[in-house]
């Protein structure tokens, strides 16, 4: 970037940044403050920026054994489907990038086309097939499988773009060094596409963690995931805003931690020094 393209910040640019920050952070702020209020304060009149914070909502949420179970379900579903997606995704992407086989280009395009189907469209067919053909309804396995299938196309696609950057000569050097195809893949190729794996992992984990419709349809009161549970705070009698917000704040933590952990792997220039550029 040339120096002339970097312009000095003006008051107007600060204003724009401020508005954008407000739009992005405002809802989170509201969620956090609301989660720290009592019901009377939430529905109370007047300015509500000044109040005595209380952890009562969090206490209510966490002392409910069901919520702990659903949180565990969510973690299992998100983690397992992320691992499965990355595992299948990187091997499939590697095959598409490196091997020549009949229908390779079709496979590459078809995977991306699959991604264009909205999950909501899948709800009824998946429910029917899972229930009547495989008996996977109301199991975590069923949810994990459908999330894996849903995320796989995008992960394959994103990893392809990382894999084509791995110099073929490196793999040939490894072959000369006596590595078999699996050793080449795991010891040479995978470490080099770590940034891609991290990006794909963040993406997959968050989709699996936040997904609602399929989770609602495919689970029961034992296998529910957290986003589904949140919706149940709204019933015919009342809406537990405080608890909804407390759960919202709590379930934002795992993806946040995961994202920070994974994004440390995203450093560019992994292949620097491998071959003459």
């Amino acid at each position: 970037m040339t120096s002339s393209s970097i312009r000095r910040a003006t008051p107007a640019s600060y204003a724009i940044v401020f508005v954008l920050a407000l739009v992005a952070l405002g809802p989170i702020l509201v969620m956090l403050t609301t989660s720290l209020k009592l019901k009377t304060q939430i529905f109370g009149e007047g300015a509500s920026f000044f109040f005595m914070p209380t952890l009562q909502n969090y206490d209510a949420v966490l002392s409910d054994g069901q919520n702990v179970r659903y949180l565990t379900n969510s973690l299992i579903v998100a983690c397992v489907s992320t691992i499965l997606t990355l595992g299948f995704g990187c091997t499939a992407a590697y095959a598409i990038v490196r091997f020549r086989f009949l229908g390779r280009d079709v496979a590459s395009t078809a995977t991306l086309l699959m991604r264009m189907v909205p999950p909501a469209v899948l709800t009824v067919p998946v429910f029917t097939i899972w229930t009547y053909q495989y008996g996977l309804n109301n199991t975590l396995t069923g949810v994990i499988l459908v999330y894996t299938g849903l995320n796989l196309p995008f992960v394959i696609w994103i990893l392809q773009s990382f894999l084509v950057q791995v110099p073929r000569q490196l793999e040939e050097a490894a072959r000369m060094d006596g590595a078999n195809p699996y050793q080449i893949f795991f010891m040479v190729v995978l470490p080099l596409i770590k940034p891609g794996l991290a990006a794909a992992a963040i993406f997959t984990f968050r989709i699996a963690w936040n997904e609602f419709i399929l989770g609602l349809v495919l689970t029961n009161r034992f296998t529910r995931t957290m986003p589904v549970k949140v919706s149940l705070f709204i019933n015919e009698h009342n809406i537990e805003w405080g608890q909804i917000m407390a759960v919202g704040a709590l379930i934002a933590i795992p993806p946040l931690v995961f994202t920070f952990m994974a994004s440390r792997q995203i450093i560019t220039g992994m292949t620097a020094g491998a071959v003459k550029g």
């Binding site: 000369m176 020094g273 071959v275």
Partner: protein
């Protein structure tokens, strides 16, 4: 240590035949250089020996084993790649020991070997660095170290110096020449640079269009090129090529063309008897052209000098002889005109003649 034999090696990509029936014998501990312009099939040949490319036909023997169907790792071969191909996520020591670790050598042995090779290549101080922290020359050295650590019986080099700048290249070339004296192994070296080929090789194999044009020692190729291609490829500056005609005047055999009339040695008379008064191609090394005129005036080359390039000990004259460009190498100490018409002569023994149709040496 084994010799390498290549018998009837073929490589086709679909309908395109890149190498068609290549035969090559390499003696034990020999340093063979495959040289040729890009696309001549030299790298493909090397990759087939390495096992990175499947041969479409033919056999490759290393020692008394036919290896053309074996995996690269079963061929007892180490290879240095053009672009280094170092594993960027491993430090130098781990790069070098990768093959040994895969083969599950004991750790003490791995350490000993890495240390020994690192000392040999004077890269001991770099062992804990990552490839991206190394300069081009250091990376190349590590790449060689990685090959040496394996202690394979055959070494393959695929244009290992072509990424280095000119100064470093000549330095690494000298180091390679020294290294090959210490490491007595079979080596096959691919390059497009004829200077590398001449300085490093015991035997040079000149390839063009997927075929071997000539093979032999560097001086064989320089002094007795088998055809016009080899003549033009080996030697720097390249050989001058002029069109002329064989004739006999006063009992002496000579070759004439526009601007030159050069005497040929008498002993060639018998071999050239059938070609009298017919067209030939004359090849003159820039270094075999002498300034001035012979006493008897039997040999003369009249040129019009356009440019003199001062190189140092010698100068290169770019001149024009009967409409064709001629380069002449002269000693910078001796006086010469830097422009205008001048007279030269050529030692009869150093005149090369080629058939204008087949381009083979006469």
């Amino acid at each position: 240590m084994p010799s390498i034999q290549i018998k009837g090696l073929q490589k086709r990509f679909g309908a395109l035949s890149v190498i068609d029936g290549l035969d090559l014998d390499m003696a034990d501990k020999e340093f063979t250089v495959l040289v040729g312009p890009s696309g001549c099939g030299k790298s493909t040949t090397l990759r087939m020996v390495a096992g990175l490319e499947d041969a479409s036909g033919g056999e490759i023997w290393i020692g008394n084993r036919e290896v053309s169907r074996l995996d690269p790792k079963d061929r007892d071969i180490a290879m240095v790649f053009q672009d280094y191909a170092l594993y960027p996520h491993m430090d130098v020591a781990r790069n070098m020991s990768f093959a040994l670790r895969l083969a599950r050598y004991p750790k003490a042995e791995i350490d000993a070997r890495v240390t020994r090779v690192a000392e040999l290549l004077s890269i001991s101080h770099l062992l804990s660095r990552k490839p991206r922290e190394l300069s081009g020359g250091q990376r190349q050295r590590v790449a060689m170290g990685r090959a040496l650590v394996k202690d394979a019986s055959v070494f393959l080099f695929d244009e290992p110096l072509s990424n280095l700048d000119a100064k470093l290249r000549s330095q690494m070339r000298a180091e390679l020449a020294l290294m090959r004296k210490r490491v007595e192994k079979n080596m096959i070296y691919v390059t497009h640079d004829q200077i590398e080929a001449m300085t490093l090789g015991d035997r040079i194999v000149v390839m063009h269009g997927g075929k071997i044009q000539q093979q032999g020692s560097p001086s064989d190729l320089y002094r007795r090129p088998a055809n016009l291609f080899v003549a033009g490829f080996i030697g720097s500056p390249p050989m001058n090529v002029l069109r002329g005609e064989l004739s006999e005047a006063g009992g002496r055999l000579c070759v004439r063309g526009s601007g030159f009339d050069l005497a040929l040695p008498d002993q060639r008379g018998a071999a050239l008897a059938g070609r009298r008064d017919r067209a030939v191609i004359v090849g003159l090394r820039p270094s075999s052209i002498r300034s001035g005129a012979t006493q008897d005036g039997a040999s003369s080359l009249s040129v019009n000098i356009r440019l003199a390039e001062y190189v140092g000990a010698h100068s290169v004259l770019i001149a024009d002889c009967g409409g064709e460009a001629v380069t002449i190498e002269v000693n910078s100490e001796s006086p010469f005109a830097s422009e205008g018409a001048a007279q030269f002569w050529v030692e009869p023994e150093s005149i090369h003649l080629f058939d204008p149709v087949t381009e083979a040496a006469i």
